[in-house]
């Protein structure tokens, strides 16, 4: 998109945009002590003084600050760097009855290498009460079509937190299109009617067996398939059959069936395809999540 700078142009810091304040407001934590004295008068120049003119962040706070420096909040979310391997934050916000202190995470973070370069690059999977800040309504919506439980760790005693009521929000049927190689007519399958890949495979077989047979009748092969109504389509899931079942997810990627739990599949599947196994690349899971690198895949 036009109009905005790219990352490689460098990162103009706010401090560069502030003419005089820049020197005064350098912010490294270690300089807190030394800048304390000079910053006081500078901050008065910036008219930050409280109405009664009593600007007092006394020395007693400095030791407090030092305590806090080693307890940077993000330390809560580094279960990977925590030697115990558990998540202190979960302990804090889990069953509060169990913990003797209100927030053990604040005192128990072993990772005192507080430099931000050790910050995690991944999203923290640990659920936090009330985060992200969305109303219960939306949480139910977000979890509606998948069966992930709402991770409400707070058990307010005697209160009816409405988000704990299971609210029936998912649609009654989940129809997805399914096309088969060599069959011009697409079909639809209702994923809500099945609860496993095996059943889905069976349903696919039922949908297309007749069509496939009807088509092969026009070929020169002969009419021997007439009576039995067509050859069963098997081996869809394991690559052993003539055809293999794949699906497109909501990001447009094509994936092999069967890698993820059923409910996750249901929440992300957008359409299904039955491909000739011979046309699949050898099942190299080159990229993560086992995506197929089908460069010629039509959209």
């Amino acid at each position: 998109m036009k109009g905005y700078s790219r990352k490689d142009e460098g990162c103009p810091r706010l401090l560069d945009l502030i003419p005089k304040e820049k020197e005064r407001l350098t912010k490294s934590a270690e300089e807190k002590k030394t800048r304390h004295g000079s910053s006081e008068e500078k901050q008065l120049e910036l008219r930050l003084g409280p109405p009664n003119g009593d600007w007092t962040i006394k020395n007693k706070n400095i030791s407090r600050e030092k305590d806090h420096e080693s307890l940077l909040p993000f330390g809560y979310f580094s279960p990977w760097s925590s030697s115990s391997g558990t998540t202190p934050f979960l302990q804090a916000h889990g069953q509060l009855k169990e913990s003797s202190q209100p927030n053990p995470a604040k005192t128990a973070v072993p990772n005192s290498s507080s430099s931000s370069s050790s910050a995690q690059k991944r999203t923290a999977p640990t659920p936090v009460v009330g985060w992200p800040p969305i109303r219960s309504f939306r949480k139910n919506l977000a979890n509606g079509s998948s069966s992930k439980p709402i991770s409400e760790l707070q058990n307010a005693v005697g209160s009816k937190i409405s988000s704990e009521k299971p609210i029936e929000n998912s649609p009654k049927s989940l129809l997805v299109k399914i096309n088969m190689d060599g069959v011009p007519i697409g079909r639809k399958v209702d994923l809500k009617e099945h609860d496993s890949y095996e059943k889905l495979s069976f349903a696919v077989d039922e949908l297309f067996r007749g069509l496939l047979a009807a088509q092969s009748n026009f070929s020169a092969v002969g009419i021997k398939n007439d009576e039995d109504g067509g050859k069963a389509i098997t081996g869809l899931l394991d690559g052993s059959g003539e055809y293999t079942l794949v699906y497109e997810d909501n990001e447009g990627d094509r994936l092999l069936i069967g890698d993820v739990p059923w409910h996750m599949f249901v929440s992300s599947v957008k359409r299904l395809r039955v491909l000739k196994s011979s046309e699949l690349p050898t099942l190299s899971r080159g990229r993560k999540h086992g995506k197929l690198s089908l460069d010629t895949s039509p959209k």
């Binding site: 998109m1 109009g3 905005y4 700078s5 990162c11 103009p12 810091r13 706010l14 945009l17 912010k27 934590a29 930050l48 409280p50 109405p51 007092t56 962040i57 706070n61 407090r64 600050e65 806090h68 420096e69 940077l72 909040p73 993000f74 809560y76 979310f77 509060l96 927030n103 931000s116 910050a119 995690q120 999203t123 999977p125 659920p127 009330g130 985060w131 992200p132 969305i134 109303r135 219960s136 309504f137 939306r138 919506l141 977000a142 979890n143 509606g144 307010a156 005693v157 005697g158 209160s159 009816k160 937190i161 409405s162 009521k165 609210i167 649609p171 129809l175 909501n250 990001e251 957008k270």
Partner: protein, 579 residues
Amino acid sequence: MRSFQSMLNYFPEEVLEHVFDFLTSHRDRNAVSLVCKSWYTVERFSREKVFIGNCYAISPERLISRFPRVRSLTLKGKPHFADFNLVPHDWGGYVQPWIESMAKGGVNLEELRLKRMLVSDESLELLANFFPNFKSLVLVSCEGFTTDGLAAIASNCRFLRELDLQEIEVEDRRGQWLSCFPDSCTSLVSLNFACLKGEVNLASLERLVARCRNLRSLRVNHAVPIDALQRILMQAPQLVDLGTGSFGQDPDSDSYNKLETAMQQCTSITSLSGFLEVVTARCLPAVYPICRHLTSLNLSYAAGIYSDELVKLIRHCNKLERLLVLDTIGDKGLGVVASTCKELQELRVFPSDIHGGNAAVTEEGLVAISAGCPKLNSILYFCQQMTNAALIMVAKNCPNFIRFRLATLNPTIPDAVTMQPLDEGFGAIVKSCKGLKRLSVSGLLTDQLFLYIGIYAEQLEMLSIAFAGDSDKGMFYVLNGCKKLKKLEIRDSPFGDVALLEDMGKYETMRSLWMSSCEVTLGACKTLAQKMPRLNVEIINDSDQMEASDDDKQRVEKMYLYRTLVGPRKDAPDFVWTL
């Protein structure tokens, strides 16, 4: 000068009143009442709309005695973080005493707007039966009532014009409340029950719509299928605001064509929402004809519409001023919004997967929007990651933000590129947006950001902080610097007693302060409560964490304080201690 002065003294009150009629904002009226005693008196008898931002700051009796002619009342109850399950359900905020007092006091109530309040069926029945001119009920994020209460409103409010339920959990008693609107009811202008989970009688709904010729706004719930929607639209082509309900099935081509025809008739619709259960996108093209008139579009409940369909829809909407979507739209989709919706003022992007698995928007989408939409002034953005560079660019592109709320799915994530705190980015926002009134920050943040906020955010009225800051200084910078601060809510941040007690008088200039999972101790709260009698300092002890011991050093898990003219409230439950 003297003659002018005496002329003013003899200004007839009727003239003053007439002039004051032009003042609609409660802030203007509050200012006017401070000028002199006679203006105070004229103003108080002429005020019809009263806004009370915290229902415990004043009592119903005092409201009625000061504003006897009140016709419209807006009340807010629980603290904002109650929306995120941080406040127990029965903390308080009951509307019952207000309705009782107004009924007894002979108030001619016509309009009641409630947010985060507890509303019982009994309250609704009182409302319906004691105020013969009652016209408008708007409930946002309230709870405590059932469809029986709605039935009472429908049955008894003869001149009901507006019934608007937003984000409400209503217990469904299967009583067909909608059928309770009598045949004589033709006055409805606005009906919104999109959030209700239960069934409604479709035939009743269709008849109701047919006889309410002034209906402008209709938002139906998931129980209204497409064919019913189509019939309703044929009866109400004058609609301006439509909530489509489920929009869910895959209709046969006959139903689809009928829907298309119905939509084409509705040339006045400028606001669209709903799509609560869209499973296939096949029906979406039916709304394309009205897209070009839309100024407001809410697709934030449409979990079933995927990015490419969303984008196709939005490409038709070049007059949009307000857009609410899920993050399934993706950065690319936001790019399309940026190039299509040049009139965009408000954007909200909600998370579709709160566990952040497939979260699809990053800082790129935000920057694209800021570059493409120069009128943008309000944003709520849930994203996977953010960078300072992006925020600085956004600040440069859009200096007109009034509301800026950013929530990273991982609340303490640093700049995704530099791994630095996001202080500089948010700092750029507050420095550039001189009119900023509301700010929510997230990500890895130090005291530095709060210094920036204190220095630059001169118009800031509401600030939300979570998992941020290093020390008491952070909170101090904010309290000291933001002169117009009204609401401050903080969770999981290392601010403690020193910051809390530094400037106690500040809290009387604010509506409220919320602090949870911070470093504040019981002793400090007690000190504050003792020194400031016009504040209610409440501790919420919902997990039986704290014994009522004298250990003043124990940390307080949840504290909520607010200014009040009527002392400690009498309806506090056991787990709420007012110090």
